[in-house]
């Protein structure tokens, strides 16, 4: 069953990264990781390293763009921002996700109530 969970995590990780960049604006890798951890109650991510694999995937699909820049604390870091194609993808995936969870929820509901 652990494998299924990883499945879910990987696909959804990309989605969560997109969502984070959409709401927070340009962020560096650590910032994204922290944000997702905070939002999900600090127990979803097993390791922050996978964030970077996700960032590469999204970049290669041109859904996000990365660029070296300077933070408010005057620190140089690589900042990622969502692209237009990324926003479109986020919209589609968000609605897909809602439908999927709704369907799965409906199907699973009677079993859990029994």
């Amino acid at each position: 069953m652990g494998r299924d969970k990883l499945d879910l995590l990987q696909g959804t990780l990309d989605l969560m990264v997109l969502q984070t960049l959409d709401t927070m604006g340009p962020q560096h890798g650590y910032g994204i990781a922290r944000r997702i951890e905070q939002r999900s109650g600090d127990d979803v991510l097993l390791n922050q390293g996978t964030i970077y694999a996700s960032l590469v995937r999204l970049q290669q699909r041109r859904w996000i763009a990365g660029e070296w820049g300077t933070s408010e604390a005057n620190r140089r870091a690589k900042f990622y921002s969502i692209t237009r194609a990324g926003r479109r993808q986020l919209r589609e995936q968000r609605s897909y996700w809602r439908r999927l969870t709704a369907v799965v929820g409906r199907v699973l509901a009677p079993e859990s109530s029994r």
């Binding site: 910032g31 390293g49 970077y52 995937r57």
Partner: protein, 894 residues
């Protein structure tokens, strides 16, 4: 940290291969970038923990734990962004080798097949590349060099020195023009006997134009070409090694070339040959006899295109200059045009180009058939591994990873095959070169570079990659796309929808094999036909050699005649020699065509028809095994003081004087200085001339002129004898030496048969035929193996079904039908397609090989029959196994 194949969300856009490739190529830069990024990440994380009051070392440890390890993260990053990481590649390689060794019989089969096919291809490529593209061995940028000669109506050759000088002065699109004249020279040193060597007269700028300078000594300079300058020569590296044993003092040596004391001033680098297999280069000296515009004494002119100039521009410019010269010198230049061509167009005949293209295509087709077979084999092997693949998929291997794994196996196989193939090709080329450089060959092959070099290796590697993809991709995609759960539940059995693809491949193989079989059948027949061609002569028991009299010592006709008469008499004295004759050319060799009018036939015409002419001594016809049909042979009367006479051939009578008397009639040559009437005194049987390749095999009208009335500079001596060649050759050499110790035998002695078989395109047709025959044999064998493998795999895969059917009372016929139907249909379709393809192939081949017709029904039928029989046997043998199935045994073990 295994990565599942797909996330649960739809990802419309697959990650671009291009992006991954780009990342792969920029590995180092991206690694550095990511190192920096990770450093920042860890600093930020550490700071956060410090802010919460954790001590520094603990904060750092926590940051690393949260990250999941630096190396691990880097590795994941690299794998995600790039095609493959080195580690993964090595792992794939190791795994692939293990898998290949595990099924070593299949692997060996694949490697042997590829070795043969890639070897064949590499060998054919080496030859075709040398002939068609590479050009001269050591000339840099062959494509920028144009070769120019003079042509009339698209044929003809050679260049006159004044024309060359005018082109050189007027052309802007070349940096400079050089010119070449080919000749053999008598070479002697001290009191030693004269030797015949190949030499080339070149303009003094030649080596500079070719961007080559001597290894030792100096290049020619402009003074060397002045009339009256001391004679100088540059020798080739090979000649230096052979003749002078690489002695350094050669540069101060004085030798005699055609009797003229000459100093050797330079040695060219090893391997440099231009334009043919030369031993010596001499400067072209514009002596008065060379300065005549009507004497085309130069073989060709050549020039290097100037910076920015194109071949088209040079051609246009040359055409304009040609027209200018034609109007300035109408007597000599009207109607002829300078023509500029590239290496292959100038030196390689269109026939050879087509021939090599066909052989090359044939070799590629064989490789394609092999790929089809190997694809089937790999597919079968891959299907045996479906279970293994399913397990790997279940354990988290991505589809890409599995495809990569299977492709890796294909690549390893094809790389091994290519390496062994290059070895095979090297061996073949060695044999070919020994054959191509045989001394009896009329053309010198030495100018071409047949080495198995970088371009051949590159080609073989290209083929290896191509074959690996061709036979690897389909099985890899197929296997990796199986439904994991279904396969696992099934125990990996029950997947055989691939049979249609396999059968279709077999059909294609049969079609291609049929085409190759028909093509090679036709070419081999044509070769046999050429072999039996009626040349009008008996070549057995004739020994021939060539003697050329240097113009410097034999400028008068009397001197030449005296030499030839003494030679004829001297050779004729030997009792073992039955007859001896001289001629300016051997049978099938070139006989210059002249315009002649025949009394009472062409009286009103200005020019008259074109007729080939040959100058011969008395007894020529008897000596070559032709005969006189009417009138008399030439004899002692027909010398410079006698009436000009001629003998014509039967073809001449058929063409111009059908049913009329020829003897006594007169001929007038209309192409120059001689206005004298020539009386026909005899009619001889036909002998083939002007057709060294036997490509036309058509006798043409001939006029034979007596040697005594026009003693040539060079002649072939033909001797009819029962003596073995070596004995005869020794005597003939002694004879020539006795008459003139300064004169070598120029060419030969050879047996006439060998010499005739060795000439140009004829020999090429032979090579062509044998290469095609080899290709066809390999193709047929591969097709048979392919059919056999598919049928027997089918029997193996359905053995339980067959057993059940037999148990339920299925008849032999039903079982055979079950096994054979699908493949059988494809084989038949393949045969039909093959027939259609063969007709097209024969049409193409017929355009350059004599006697090949597209609708050659017997050849097509024979090829189809052979292939059909082979296919039936290959089907029936494994199918019989199905009939022998004992149901109980099978069902029990299942």
């Amino acid at each position: 940290m295994s990565r599942p194949p797909r996330g649960p969300l739809p990802q419309r856009r697959p990650v671009g291969l291009f992006a991954r490739l780009w990342a792969f190529l920029n590995q180092q830069r991206l690694d550095k970038d990511f190192d920096a990024e990770l450093k920042v990440h860890i600093e930020l994380a550490t700071e956060r923990h410090l802010d919460r009051g954790v001590p520094l070392s603990e904060a750092r440890r926590l940051a690393l734990v949260e990250l999941g390890g630096i190396e691990r993260t880097k590795q994941l990053h690299r794998e995600t962004r790039s095609l493959l990481s080195l580690e993964a590649l090595l792992q794939d390689g190791k795994y692939a080798c293990r898998a290949l060794i595990r099924s070593r019989r299949v692997s060996a089969t694949i490697i042997v097949t590829l070795t043969i096919c890639i070897g064949l291809n590499a060998a054919v490529f080496t030859v075709a590349n040398a002939v068609l593209f590479r050009g001269f061995r050591t000339v840099t940028q062959n494509q920028r060099i144009l070769y120019i000669d003079t042509q009339r109506d698209g044929t003809g050759c050679c260049v006159s020195y004044p024309d060359f000088e005018d082109w050189r002065r007027r052309m802007q699109s070349v940096t400079d023009l050089g010119a070449v004249a080919d000749r053999r020279v008598a070479f002697s040193e001290g009191a030693g006997p004269p030797e015949s060597h190949t030499a080339t007269l070149i303009t003094t700028n030649t080596f500079r134009l070719l961007r080559q300078s001597p290894l030792y000594g100096r290049d020619f300079d402009d003074e060397d070409a002045l009339v009256g300058a001391p004679a100088v020569a540059i020798i080739s590296y090979g000649f230096w090694q052979r003749r002078f044993e690489g002695e350094a003092a050669v540069l101060s040596r004085m030798v005699r070339i055609n009797g003229t004391p000459t100093s050797i001033i330079g040695v060219m680098p090893d391997g440099f040959l231009f334009p043919q297999n030369q031993e010596l280069w001499l400067p072209v000296v514009p002596r008065p006899e060379l300065l005549r515009r009507d004497a085309r004494n130069l073989w060709f002119a050549f020039g290097r295109l100037a910076e920015g100039a194109t071949t088209e521009r040079a051609r246009a410019e040359l055409a304009t200059i040609g027209e200018q010269l034609a109007s300035e010198y109408p007597d000599t230049n009207r109607g002829s045009q300078p023509v500029a061509r590239t290496f292959s167009a100038f030196f390689v005949s269109p026939t050879a180009t087509k021939a090599y293209t066909v052989v090359w295509t044939a070799a590629l087709l064989v490789l394609l058939i092999a790929c089809a077979n190997l694809a089937n084999l790999m597919m079968a092997r891959a299907l045996d591994r479906v279970h293994e693949m399913s397990v790997r998929a279940a354990l988290g291997a991505t589809r890409w990873r599995m495809v990569r794994q299977l492709l890796m196996e294909s690549f390893i196989l094809s790389t091994v095959g290519a390496m062994a193939g290059i070895g095979v090709a090297t061996g073949c080329i060695g044999m070919y070169e020994r054959f191509a450089n045989a001394p009896t060959l009329a053309w010198s092959e030495g100018l071409l570079n047949y080495s198995v070099d970088g371009s051949v290796i590159l080609y073989a590697c290209g083929l290896a990659v191509m074959t690996a993809l061709l036979f690897g991709v389909a099985p890899a995609l197929r296997v990796s796309s199986f439904d994991v759960h279904a396969t696992l539940k099934n125990g990996g059995r029950g997947m055989s929808p691939r049979n249609r693809l396999a059968s279709a491949l077999i059909g294609a193989e049969v079609a291609v094999a049929l085409i190759l079989l028909a093509a090679s059948g036709a070419v081999v027949q044509s070769f046999a036909h050429i072999n039996d061609a009626d040349l009008g002569v008996t070549s057995e028991g004739r020994v021939v050699f060539n003697v050329s009299l240097p113009a410097e010592r034999f400028s008068s006709a009397d001197a030449r005649l005296a030499f030839f008469e003494t030679l004829e008499k001297g050779v004729g004295m030997h009792t073992a020699l039955q007859s001896v004759a001289l001629a300016t050319s051997l049978p099938t060799g070139s006989a210059p065509r002249r315009r002649a009018v025949v009394e009472g036939v062409h009286a009103g015409e200005v020019d008259g028809p074109v007729v080939a002419t040959l100058t011969v001594s008395p007894h020529y016809f008897r000596t070559v095994g032709a005969s006189l049909i009417a009138g008399r042979d030439f004899d002692a009367r027909d010398d410079g003081r006698g009436v000009p006479v001629a003998i014509v051939n039967e073809r001449f009578i058929d063409e111009f004087l059908p049913g009329r008397d020829a003897v006594g009639r007169s001929i007038l040559f209309r192409d120059g200085n001689t206005d004298s009437l020539i009386t026909i005194v005899g009619v001889a049987s036909n002998v083939l001339q002007n057709d060294p390749n036997r490509a036309r095999q058509r006798f043409e009208p001939m006029i034979y002129l007596p040697l005594r009335q026009a003693p040539p500079q060079s002649a072939w001596v033909i001797v009819r004898t029962d003596l073995p060649l070596s004995v005869a050759a020794e005597r003939l050499r002694r004879d020539v030496h006795a008459i003139d110790p300064e004169l070598p035998i120029w060419n030969g002695p050879f047996e006439l048969t060998e010499r005739l078989n060795g000439s140009g395109g004829y020999w090429q047709v032979g090579i062509n035929a044998s290469l095609l025959a080899i290709s066809a044999a390999v193709a047929t064998l591969l097709a048979a193996i392919g059919v056999y493998a598919v049928i027997s795999h089918r029997v193996g895969a359905r053995i339980q079904e067959i057993a059940i059917r037999i148990a339920l009372g299925g008849t032999g016929r039903q079982i055979l039908l079950l096994v054979l139907r699908q493949t059988g249909i494809y084989v038949v379709v393949g045969l039909l397609c093959g027939v259609v393809g063969s007709i097209a192939a024969l049409r193409l081949i017929g355009s350059y090989v004599l006697g090949v017709h597209p609708m050659d029904v017997p050849t097509l039928a024979a090829a189809a029959l052979v292939l059909g029989t082979v296919a039936v046997v290959a089907c029936v043998v494994p199918a019989r196994r199905a009939l022998r199935v004992v149901p109980l045994d099978v069902l029990r073990t299942a």
